[in-house]
């Protein structure tokens, strides 16, 4: 409708106030950190940046972050795009179930995925152990560490972006375009190169960006597999651990800069990059594989693939049933039992991390939902400056690696200076939920944005004309209509916070120890069964949230 159609919803200063609050929450800590890295209160200087570049291992970490991310994109595309074509374009027995299974790795919180890999392919994992036993070797055939291990885990968890984006884009592709190409005499190859791939370009660019940013921010895999091979995220945490706070701040600034450069470059190269994710569409017809041999070969390969993809989950499940100290040299664990799960609920020190993670994730999700929805409403209602500002503030944290936020929050809220908008939160139980909230904000905000953008403005006008005021319209019309999108966003936000490791490792206190930290310390104490039990719980909750997401908000 006309540009001014919703000019009357909400008073202007309310939205500006919200924008100011979000700017304080999202942007201010980054500014403070940048300031501190430049010397801050002690006077401006570039000394620390000089030190950063004079130490080869510092800029080497930056360079590694870059190329690990670039290669992650490459390998993820290599796996994900062909799979997307296979599952969207051909029909074979078991296609639907397999198609869902293939997306499963995305449902595994990063740390859980990493330990599952460790149990499966690590030095004493199932696969090396099997090979060792079969071939009678003295040692495990390989050590899962270094860049190869990181890339393996990244590819395993991130090809799903390419797979899902490719499938969604193919499903949305208008089948008549392909028919038109055929009608104009183009063969299959020509149609693929001239029609299909150009149409997929925005989706593939979106998947590439998502993979690159996720990989840049990735912490669990480099932390557990990297060893001396440090990328920026692990370098930052190591600097902090060594007490070199300012160097950690400089590193944080450099990582944030790399993230923004990557984002900017992508926007410049491909302004149409799709960030919103999947949209349902009318699918072009699937090619039924006619030859029975081809059908069964494809199906067979598919099932092998599914088993490979499910092995980490299965391994985690199995290990979680192994009581501590009962499994030594055998190929399969001799004793299985529920001891580990029993310990989770019966021992207060084991239960505590579950309770902590649950309440912090719930609080962060609730806050992010409220803020994200309010900001999205402002962004949709107001098309001017304040609307764009609100949208940017909500979406921005997505581009910022978790480690950066963690350091920025730790820097900003280590001082009690209310007149500067800084409060003493370090060491209190409030900093970690706040950090989770920031990480959740783009998830809830985006869902709310897409939900509200799909809402026909005439529905709100109809409500108004029937005498309903602003609150009544919100309660009776807007909220029920965007509920699926909000539920989906909240589900993702909750599991992100529940399984978080990257922010937690910087900000946790003894009182707020979350599940991920407990998994890590269980691993250190060789209590693998317990670590696996925590992992299984996270996996189940995440799986449930994804089922919810797929059903209600997949289109959002």
């Amino acid at each position: 409708m006309s540009p001014g159609s919703r000019r009357r919803s909400g008073s202007g200063w309310g939205w500006w106030l919200l924008a100011a609050f979000l700017a304080w929450l999202v942007g201010y800590p980054l500014l403070i950190t940048g300031g501190e890295a430049l010397g801050g209160s002690a006077g401006w200087s570039l000394d620390y940046f000089g030190t950063f570049f004079s130490r080869s291992h510092e800029w080497l970490a930056l360079w590694r972050s870059f190329w690990i991310s670039a290669l992650s994109v490459f390998f993820s595309a290599l796996v994900g795009v062909p799979l997307g074509f296979l599952f969207e374009r051909t029909d074979f027995p078991g296609r639907r179930i397999l198609g869902a299974l293939v997306a499963l790795p995305v449902a595994l919180p990063p740390l859980v995925g990493v330990i599952a890999f460790l149990f499966l392919y690590g030095e004493s994992g199932f696969v090396p152990r099997a090979i060792q036993l079969a071939l009678g070797l003295d040692q495990a055939p390989w050590r899962l560490q270094g860049p190869a291990a990181i890339l393996l885990v990244h590819t395993y968890s991130m090809y799903v972006y390419f797979y899902l984006f490719t499938r969604a884009a193919l499903a949305r592709l208008d089948g008549s375009l392909l028919e038109a190409a055929a009608n104009l005499g183009a063969g299959r190859w020509r149609t693929l190169v001239r029609v299909t791939l150009p149409m997929l370009r925005p989706a593939l660019a979106g998947a590439a960006l998502l993979t690159f940013m996720t990989s840049l921010a990735s912490f669990s895999a480099p932390y557990l597999f990297g060893g001396s091979f440090r990328v920026m995220t692990t370098q930052i945490v190591a600097s902090r651990l060594n007490g070199d706070v300012t160097m950690a701040q400089v590193e944080t600034v450099m990582l944030a800069a790399l993230a923004f450069v990557a984002l900017g470059a992508m926007r410049l190269l491909d302004p149409g990059t799709e960030l919103a994710g999947t949209v349902r569409g009318v699918a072009p017809s699937r090619r039924r594989l006619i030859s029975p041999l081809a059908r069964w070969a494809t199906a067979g390969a598919g099932y092998v693939l599914a088993v490979v993809l499910l092995l980490p989950h299965a391994t985690l499940l199995l290990i979680s049933f192994v009581p501590a100290g009962t499994w030594t040299v055998e190929f399969l664990p001799p004793i299985l039992g529920l001891e580990n799960y029993g310990a989770l609920v019966s021992r207060p020190d084991r239960l505590r991390p579950l309770v902590n993670s649950a309440w912090m994730a719930a609080a962060a999700t609730a806050g992010a939902l409220l803020l994200g929805f309010a900001a999205a409403r402002g962004a949709v209602a107001r098309r001017g400056k304040v609307g764009r500002l609100l949208e940017s503030l909500v979406v921005l944290p997505w581009a910022i690696p978790g480690t950066v936020f963690a350091v920025a929050l730790a820097t900003t809220f280590s001082v009690d200076a209310p007149h500067l908008g800084r409060f003493l939160l370090v060491g209190t139980p409030w900093l970690l939920p706040l950090a989770y909230l920031l990480r959740d904000l783009p998830l809830t905000g985006r869902s709310a944005l897409s939900g509200l953008r799909q809402l026909d403005p005439a529905l709100e006008e109809a409500s108004a004309v029937l005498g309903a005021g602003r609150w009544r319209t919100l309660r009776r019309v807007v909220l029920p209509m965007v509920r699926p999108a909000l539920v989906a966003g909240a589900g993702l936000a909750f599991i992100t916070a529940l399984g978080d490791f990257v922010v937690s490792i910087v900000l946790y206190t003894l009182d707020t120890r979350p599940i991920s930290i407990e998994i890590l310390s269980s691993l250190r104490l060789q209590d693998t069964g317990l670590a696996a039990a925590y992992g299984v719980l996270l996996m189940l909750v995440s799986g449930a949230a994804f089922v919810l997401w797929g059903r209600d908000g997949g289109a959002a």
């Binding site: 409708m1 006309s2 540009p3 001014g4 159609s5 000019r7 009357r8 026909d456 005439a458 529905l459 006008e461 109809a462 409500s463 108004a464 004309v465 029937l466 005498g467 309903a468 005021g469 009544r472 009776r476 019309v477 029920p480 209509m481």
Partner: protein
């Protein structure tokens, strides 16, 4: 406005601009109590903006809106107590038909029984008795339209606003739904403003029709008045079929003028009614409707030679498209018997003397490139 009806709704100098674009310019309009006024115009004419100003979705930059003597200009939509049927109906998809219709009643603190009774009553009015539990997605487009009407009428609004109420329906359904809409509105006797770009819809549903063009009100009147005595060139060509023939005004006798046709004004001389004040000798256009022209024998007085370039058989009537030989004249249409001519025939066209008199308007100044 019909004399016996008091003005119930009045727009006084209503104006609206979006940025630099002036969408509505000082509209003055009165609608009598119980009257149905159709706002007719092409897209971009400002008719939708006028309706949105009435509903309270937009605030006018100038002018006032009065309903029953009360100034509602600054009132928010929720306080106006109007009913509206949206172009795409805007039925709440998460509520069933009954809850949709009850939506406007719930704010009034009525008892549940009373609401249910009213919902049943209005659903009965639109011929959808017993549809309460259906979902908007489960019923046909025509039924959705009637639910939207029932929802708008349920709270007994002071004024009913209809935004292109039939544009979303199949042509086959449109005529029937239009008749039903007309019947319901007549039965309720509610003052109604309807926006449409379809002349047939405006003529059938509107007691009077107001034609809008580029944000200005061109003419308000009964359909017959608009058709027979259009007051602007836009109304003459937008309402009904017509060709605008350039010419020069030779002279006038009261309301009747004689026009020599052709861009240079050296062709045949036809007469018409002066639609506006034009000086003798001025460049004009003579707007002629197909039914006022006929094929004439060669050499007939005032006969305009031409060639048939198209023929449209339309059941009871047949249109012939004729390209006159005279320099600068556009194609014109002639209404004649099905067998009167063939495409390619050389013919002579002359005024038949029947139907509404051709109208004379000042020729728009040619835009110099």
């Amino acid at each position: 406005m019909s004399e016996e009806k008091r003005s119930f709704l009045s727009l006084e100098g209503l104006g609206k601009r979006f940025g630099d674009h002036e969408v509505l310019r000082a509209i003055d309009l009165d609608v009598g109590e119980g009257e149905v006024l159709a706002l007719l115009g092409p897209s971009g004419s400002g008719k939708t903006t006028a309706l949105r100003l009435l509903a309270g979705f937009e605030v006018p930059d100038s002018g006032r809106i009065r309903v029953g003597g009360e100034d509602v200009t600054g009132q928010p939509a929720a306080k106006r107590g109007f009913g509206m049927v949206f172009q795409h109906y805007a039925l709440f998809p998460h509520l069933d038909v009954g809850a949709n219709v009850a939506f406007g009643l719930e704010t009034r603190g009525w008892s549940r029984e009373r609401i249910a009774a009213r919902v049943a009553e209005v659903l009965d009015l639109v011929g959808l008795t017993g549809f309460e539990a259906r979902r908007p997605g489960e019923i046909s487009g025509g039924q959705q339209q009637r639910v939207a009407l029932a929802r708008a009428l349920a709270p007994e609004p002071k004024l009913l606003l209809l935004d292109e109420p039939l544009s979303n329906l199949d042509p086959s359904l449109r005529e029937r739904t239009r008749r039903q809409l007309r019947q319901v509105v007549e039965r309720v006797g509610i003052t109604t403003v309807l926006v449409t770009h379809e002349q047939e819809e405006a003529f059938h549903l509107g007691d009077r029709v107001a034609v809008l063009h580029q944000g200005t009100l061109q003419q308000v009147g009964l359909p017959e008045e608009l058709y027979e005595r259009p007051r602007t060139r836009f109304v003459a060509t937008f309402v009904g079929r017509a060709a605008a023939l350039p010419g020069r005004l030779e002279g006038r006798d009261g309301e009747v003028g004689r026009v020599s046709l052709g861009a240079a004004g050296d062709g045949q001389s036809w007469s018409g009614a002066l639609g506006e004040t034009v000086e003798a000798g001025a460049a004009v256009e003579l707007v002629v409707r197909p039914e006022t022209l006929a094929f004439a024998p060669p050499g007939a007085a005032g006969g305009l030679g031409g060639r048939v370039v198209g023929r449209r058989f339309n059941g009871p009537i047949t249109y012939y498209e004729v390209q006159p030989e005279l320099q600068g004249l556009p194609e014109l249409e002639v209404l004649a018997d099905a067998g009167a001519a063939q495409v390619g025939d050389t013919v002579v066209v002359a005024p038949s003397g029947t139907g509404p008199a051709p109208r004379i308007f000042a020729r728009p100044v040619e835009k110099t490139p």
